[in-house]
């Protein structure tokens, strides 16, 4: 369309994708207006920050990269959640700040320009407004999709939660309700990868990004073994309450989770199970102490309904993607507690 400034970009149809622009020399824009732009109901601003050094349980530090909420700056990791309601028109504005990045809203399905994948659209050197309108409530996340192998591992992600129009408290409008909400984001970190630059490997160098040997294991930014007693991870509930656990595997391991009580799976990958529009699926139950596995980027929404008071331990084990051995010589485990009163 002539009213949109695509002439001279790679989208004027005269510059097909080639080997170079596919990877090493991905198309970049400083800034670009959002095509087919509408007025947003809600807006988020995320700026890329490198260099946050987190203390580790062994007395060292490890660097993470992240998106900062530029409307309420705080040096937190993982990046602050994006929480919206089903049907809201959302703009997520990226400020790249350091070189070029993108935001991909994982599980959200907008147009290509708003999907944040560099080689089929563009990487952003300055700023862009990603436009999307979530059609279904659920658990999602957002992350950088440039040199993703590295940028996602370095920590450039945050949760993305879509509530039903009436807000938190139900899985979907008219669906199961919950009174307590927990968010468990599993991650694993390899110190060697911290020695690499943001574009490492992209133009042909062997930087060993096929090899991943994580040494630290986290739930929601808390390092194991501190996960066991940290209030950011622990769940506290009263008998008779229903607890929603939003579980995301943001690691590169196979995540094997064992819960100490029965859990009802009510959503997978941001899509709830059951309901009149979905005759092909229904919620199902995972029995207590029965391990279940998730690969990278999968989400599960689990409802637990504790009946007895006590302190119950949940276990998350990180398995190597080839050997299925527990990572780091058996140390790749994070536990936490569900305290029922």
């Amino acid at each position: 369309m002539t009213d949109f400034p695509l002439a001279g970009t790679r989208f004027d149809a005269t510059a097909p994708l080639n080997f170079d622009s596919f990877g090493c020399n991905t198309y970049k824009v400083d800034s670009l207006p959002t095509p087919d732009r509408l007025e947003p109901d809600v807006r988020f601003v995320r700026g890329v920050r490198f260099g946050l050094e987190l203390p580790t349980p062994d007395g060292k530090t490890i660097e993470v990269w992240r998106f900062e909420d530029e409307l309420a700056p705080r040096p937190v990791w993982p990046s602050p959640p994006i929480r919206v309601r089903q049907g809201q028109l959302v703009h997520t504005q990226i400020y790249a700040r350091n070189n070029a990045h993108t935001i991909h809203h994982h599980g959200i399905e907008p147009t290509t320009f708003n999907d944040g994948v560099g080689h089929v659209s563009f990487e952003v050197s300055d700023t862009y407004d990603y436009q999307w309108r979530p059609h279904t409530p659920g658990t999602f996340f957002y992350h950088c999709h440039k040199n993703t192998v590295l940028h996602f591992e370095m920590g450039m992600y945050g949760l993305l939660i879509v509530d039903p129009p009436s807000g938190p408290g139900t899985i979907y409008e008219g669906g199961p309700s919950y009174q307590v909400e927990a968010m468990w984001v599993a991650d694993d970190l390899d110190p060697r990868w911290r020695t690499l630059g943001h574009s490492a490997g992209m133009c042909g160098e062997d930087v060993g990004l096929n090899r991943f040997d994580p040494k630290y294991f986290c739930i929601s930014g808390v390092f194991a073994p501190n996960t066991l007693n940290d209030p950011r991870v622990m769940v506290r509930a009263q008998r008779g309450q229903t607890v929603l656990i939003r579980l995301l595997n943001a690691s590169y391991s196979i995540l094997r989770t064992t819960l100490p009580m029965d859990a009802q799976v009510v959503a997978l990958d941001g899509h709830y199970l059951g309901g009149p529009e979905k005759p092909w699926c229904a919620p199902y139950t995972i029995r207590a102490n029965t391990p279940f596995e998730m690969v990278s980027a999968q989400r599960m929404d689990l409802l637990i309904r504790p009946r007895l008071p006590g302190v119950f331990t949940a276990k998350l084990e990180f398995l190597d993607w080839v050997t299925r051995a527990i990572q780091n010589g058996g140390q790749g485990v994070a536990q936490t507690q569900i305290v029922v009163t």
Partner: protein, 371 residues
């Protein structure tokens, strides 16, 4: 014997070009020839890797890793020739009779078996498992149901006798529910039936086989350090234009994606643009397992030797604001990636993101043009 094929990147074709309709099921037998041969295969970064591959297809056809197809109940005749310097075997795990004993170098073998119930299968060399399958001896075997219709008449890739209520509901929803306005799944259109065989290659392992050095199977997994991650033998930019892998279509053209992992690493295929219905997997014994609870996933687990069938509904990407549909300012086609989210698989030769196990599907327009 021992002639060495050279496969430059871009040269790996593959994918039988026909889908077998039920009308052809009257044919009592279906014959394929397979040649087990060494090949020097060029990886996406120019590295040459020694592989052992199945070449062949229907008599007279010579494709690497041919997709073998049959209709449920047919007699499949396989003529297998071993042109490699060591003994090999053939097997379709989970299928009775689809197996050989050792075939010595230079020897040929003919086997016959009955095509099993409709679904997605793997063929491979089970000898010194997983060694020879990792070095390249694997492929896909696709069985079309004799009667794949639901009670309501919607085509599916599964026999009426193995369909579940959940899978019937998915295929009946296509072209019926407003969300899936458009066509039913079309079993006779090869563009709507894709086979994606994921694998991983560690050149050091292949080198040992080329040099005929022994490989300790007990430590193989611990020593397996894959450097190339492929779909149907290719990766990254080479997959972008590969018509056997890339999916093109209009809104309302649901497409079956048969995903297979012949490697040793567990993949996490993740698709953008639409969630997919996970229709079927496999039992540990190798049988097709049609799901009785069909989940809509944007990531599915694909462990070694897993076969999972997904249906990409080709619905309007649901988080595009409806006031902005169809896009006017944004250029068509809309292009979406499918990539493994265990992102080490997105590399080639230790870097080169995204030249690994990544491909695309594209939406050509809001509806199929009237023919």
């Amino acid at each position: 014997m021992n002639r060495r094929e050279f496969l430059a990147y871009g040269a790996l074709g593959g994918g039988a070009s026909v889908i077998l309709g039920a009308a052809e099921a009257q044919t009592a037998t279906r014959t394929y020839e397979l040649f087990i041969e060494p090949a020097d295969v060029e990886m996406i970064d120019g590295t040459i890797v020694y592989m052992l591959l199945f070449f062949g297809g229907p008599p007279g056809v010579r494709e690497p890793r041919p997709v073998l197809r049959a209709v449920e109940g047919e007699t499949v005749v396989l003529r297998i020739v071993n042109n490699a310097p060591e003994a090999h075997r053939f097997q379709v795990p989970g299928v009775t009779g689809a197996t050989t004993t050792n075939i010595a170098p230079g020897q040929r073998r003919e086997i016959r078996f009955t095509a099993p119930v409709g679904g997605t299968y793997i063929y491979l060399d089970p000898l010194q498992a997983p060694l020879y399958r990792l070095v390249g001896l694997h492929g896909a075997f696709i069985v079309t149901p004799r009667n794949g219709l639901t009670l309501a008449g919607s085509p599916t890739p599964y026999s009426a006798t193995s369909q579940t209520a959940a899978v019937r509901a998915v295929f009946d929803a296509m072209g019926t529910m407003p969300r899936f306005a458009g066509d039913k799944w079309n079993p006779n259109d090869i563009a709507r039936d894709k086979v994606w065989v994921f694998s991983q290659t560690d050149p050091a392992l292949n080198k040992r086989v080329e040099l005929r050095q022994s490989v300790d199977l007990a430590t193989l997994a611990a020593n397996f350090k894959p450097r190339y991650f492929t779909i149907n033998g290719r990766s990254g930019f080479d997959l972008d234009e590969d018509p056997t892998v890339r999916i093109s279509g209009y809104v309302g053209q649901p497409t079956l994606i048969r995903t297979i992992n012949t490697g040793l690493a567990t993949h996490a295929p993740h698709i953008h643009g639409n969630h997919c219905f996970e229709l079927a997997g496999n039992t540990t014994a190798g049988a097709v397992s049609v799901r009785s609870n069909v989940y809509e996933r944007d990531v599915w687990m694909l462990a070694p030797l897993d076969r999972k069938d997904l249906l990409l509904p080709f619905e309007i990407p649901p988080d595009i604001p409806r006031e902005a549909w169809p896009p006017v300012q944004e250029p068509w086609p809309l292009r979406y990636v499918m990539h493994c989210h265990t992102e080490m698989s997105q590399t080639a030769g230790g870097g080169n993101y995204p030249q690994g196990a990544l491909c695309h599907w594209e939406l050509l327009g809001p509806q199929r043009p009237v023919a």
